[in-house]
């Protein structure tokens, strides 16, 4: 009896480990494949059969990528919007959240109703476009930053975090004569690293990955983001018309496919670099907002 139970457990465990191992492979291999494809000669990749490592190793794809001012500019726009968008978003969200985290705040019911209503209802894309147009935000770098500075979701997460900070911290600062601004910048923000890191990760990744706003609201070639450029290349090679189109670069052997995987690596690597550091924060941070009891 006991032995058969143990055998059953062994079978059970084996099945689970095998399934999880397969899941892990399907999650990892695509990234790995894109990486090796970016180091393989473009015209060679088209022949197929490159599965585990580059067959025809080359740095040509990256060289063409970096020599193309279109890609370089798009990369810079993405970096700039990610840094500034994240910083400004963090600033506005945490300032508003700090104000709302005071339980004795007058009219707080009104404020919260306004926020929650905005969370569930929206005007949709078309009216939003009209508003941005009227504000003169279309076709400007600001359209990447300003409309996404405050998210109601992060606001609620930050509020519940600030409420956990012991009141004594603020009181003693008050007694020492500190104003709200001083308290906020010198006391609240420094002890709020977990929630700030969580929000920074999400805002940053959102900014970095964003291509829709570039497609909707921007016509100027100068302001295209990396994600948008990538979308262009992928769409072009994906469309049935010119599936074998070779990128119009002087370099032999670089195809639109190899350029595409190269740009993908460039866009994935920054995320993979920051994510281990912020991971421990966001797992607890997202719990804060989602699971209560």
């Amino acid at each position: 009896m006991l032995k058969s139970q143990r055998q059953k457990d062994f079978v059970f465990d084996s099945v689970i480990y095998v399934v999880l191992f397969i899941i892990m492979l399907t999650m990892l291999y695509p990234f790995y494949y894109v990486l090796i494809a970016s180091f393989n000669k473009g015209s060679d990749s088209l022949l197929g059969g490159v599965y585990l490592w580059p067959r025809n190793f080359t740095l040509e794809n990256y060289r063409v990528f970096m020599d193309d001012p279109k890609w370089v500019k798009a990369f810079l726009v993405s970096v700039l919007r990610t840094v500034s968008g994240t910083l400004l978003g963090l600033l506005l969200t945490s300032i508003v959240a700090y104000g709302l985290s005071h339980r004795d705040l007058l009219f707080s019911k009104v404020y919260f109703t306004v926020i929650v209503f905005a969370m569930y209802f929206s005007g949709g894309l078309i009216p939003y476009y009209v508003v941005l147009r009227s504000l003169g935000l279309l076709n400007s770098f600001a359209v990447y930053i300003i409309p996404s500075m405050l998210s109601t979701f992060f606001l609620l997460i930050a509020i519940s975090f600030f409420r956990e900070i012991p009141a004594e911290l603020k009181e003693s600062a008050h007694i020492d004569g500190a104003g709200e601004l001083t308290i906020f910048f010198r006391i609240i923000l420094p002890v709020s690293t977990p929630v700030l890191a969580t929000m920074a990760l999400f805002m940053g990744v959102g900014q970095w990955n964003s291509w829709l706003d570039s497609a909707y609201f921007v016509q100027s070639e100068e302001l295209r983001t990396l994600a948008f450029r990538m979308m262009e290349v992928i769409n072009k090679s994906n469309s049935p018309m010119d599936s074998l189109a070779v990128a119009n670069s002087a370099s032999a052997g670089v195809t639109s496919f190899s350029l595409q995987v190269t740009s993908m690596v460039v866009s994935i690597v920054p995320i993979i670099c920051v994510y281990p550091f912020l991971q421990k924060y966001f797992v607890s941070g997202i719990m804060l907002g989602s699971v209560k009891g």
């Binding site: 892990m24 599965y51 005071h102 007058l106 404020y111 929206s122 009216p127 709200e180």
Partner: protein, 327 residues
């Protein structure tokens, strides 16, 4: 200090009011902080809500925001036009099928993964699998589509090359450019991208289950499957219901597995259009590309009304059936 000031307030009517005023003045910096957020929401969230009016009006973009209020009413003309659009049937079918398939496959996937991870005793392996599994969540849809292209396209796709090399097929399968594959492709990539992410929440729910329950069950002779069935699953019930309500409420937009719009837009092309065109991509095309703002706003509005109705009804049903709900 506060107590001292209260009786001092002059008796000439509005003692309470001046007390409130004092409190407000004391909090003025805080109200300034919050006020920033309120102004922001007014501009970027509430003004567009008034813009919904344009669905009932003959709006032209040259009118700006003011035009939302000043242009002529046309009643339900644009709604009528949409319902009689020759693509209407196709759009509604594609939207519903895509959303339902996603709930059907993408909703149970993270629950199963969480249960499996919970059975793993090697902490290092468990953590590793988990970390890898939510990585795709942080990668944009553009990259996910790029990955699908690298794997599935007819000319460079690894899968087709491998299938042909092994002799399973003579010519490449048109995964990306055939209406037959679009739904599977969309659902598969959605599961791949978001499964690990939602697992975090289910694992948290499992970690809230008391270990003594498992010990007691083990003594009673319950095997591993029995423990999953009678302890783990019931312990996750509340979380499962909440996530299900969230999913159903946002089902038309793509729910918990990401944006239907981005998938349909990026994976869609002229050949798989019969299954890939959905209400949202159509609204985008007629709205921003063709400049028919009122018509697109009407289509958008229909979709959001259905979504709101879905979230309230699923929440109500969840409350009645299981006692747990979102609000």
């Amino acid at each position: 200090m506060e107590l001292e000031t209260q009786p001092k307030s002059p008796g000439t009517g509005g003692g309470r009011r001046s007390f409130l005023w004092k409190r407000f003045k004391k909090q003025k910096v805080l109200h300034l902080f919050v006020g920033l957020g309120m102004i922001y929401l007014l501009i970027f969230a509430y003004t567009p809500m008034f813009g919904i009016l344009m669905a009932f009006k003959d709006y032209s973009i040259s009118g700006g925001i003011k035009g939302i209020f000043t242009s002529d009413w046309v009643g339900l003309r644009y709604f009528d036009e949409f319902v009689h659009d020759y693509q209407f049937g196709k759009l509604v079918r594609n939207t519903l099928v895509l959303s339902l398939l996603k709930v059907l496959f993408a909703f149970p996937a993270p629950i199963l993964l969480a249960i499996m991870l919970n059975e793993v005793k090697h902490m290092a392996f468990k953590r590793f699998v988990q970390t890898i599994s939510y990585l795709p969540h942080f990668i944009s849809w553009v990259v996910v589509v790029g990955v699908s292209y690298a794997f599935l396209s007819a000319d460079v796709g690894v899968v087709n090359k491998a299938l042909m090399a092994m002799g399973f097929t003579d010519e490449p399968l048109a995964f990306l450019t055939s209406p037959n594959y679009f739904w599977g492709l969309a659902v598969g990539s959605a599961v791949w991208k978001e499964m690990g992410w939602w697992t975090i929440i289910f694992l948290a729910a499992i970690s809230g289950i008391s270990p003594s329950l498992y010990e007691a069950a083990e003594i009673d002779g319950a095997g591993r499957l029995a423990r999953i069935r009678y302890i783990t699953l019931p312990g996750m019930k509340g979380t499962i219901v909440v996530v299900l309500v969230l999913t159903i409420g946002s089902i038309l937009g793509g729910g918990l597995v990401g944006s239907n719009f981005e998938q349909a837009y990026l994976l869609g092309n002229s050949i798989n259009n019969p299954t890939s065109e959905i209400v949202q991509t159509y609204a985008f095309r007629v709205g921003l590309s063709d400049g028919r703002f009122s018509y697109a706003a009407a289509i958008d509005l229909i979709q959001s009304v259905i979504s709101v109705a879905l979230i309230f009804s699923s929440n109500y049903i969840a409350k009645r059936v299981s006692g747990s709900s979102l609000f």
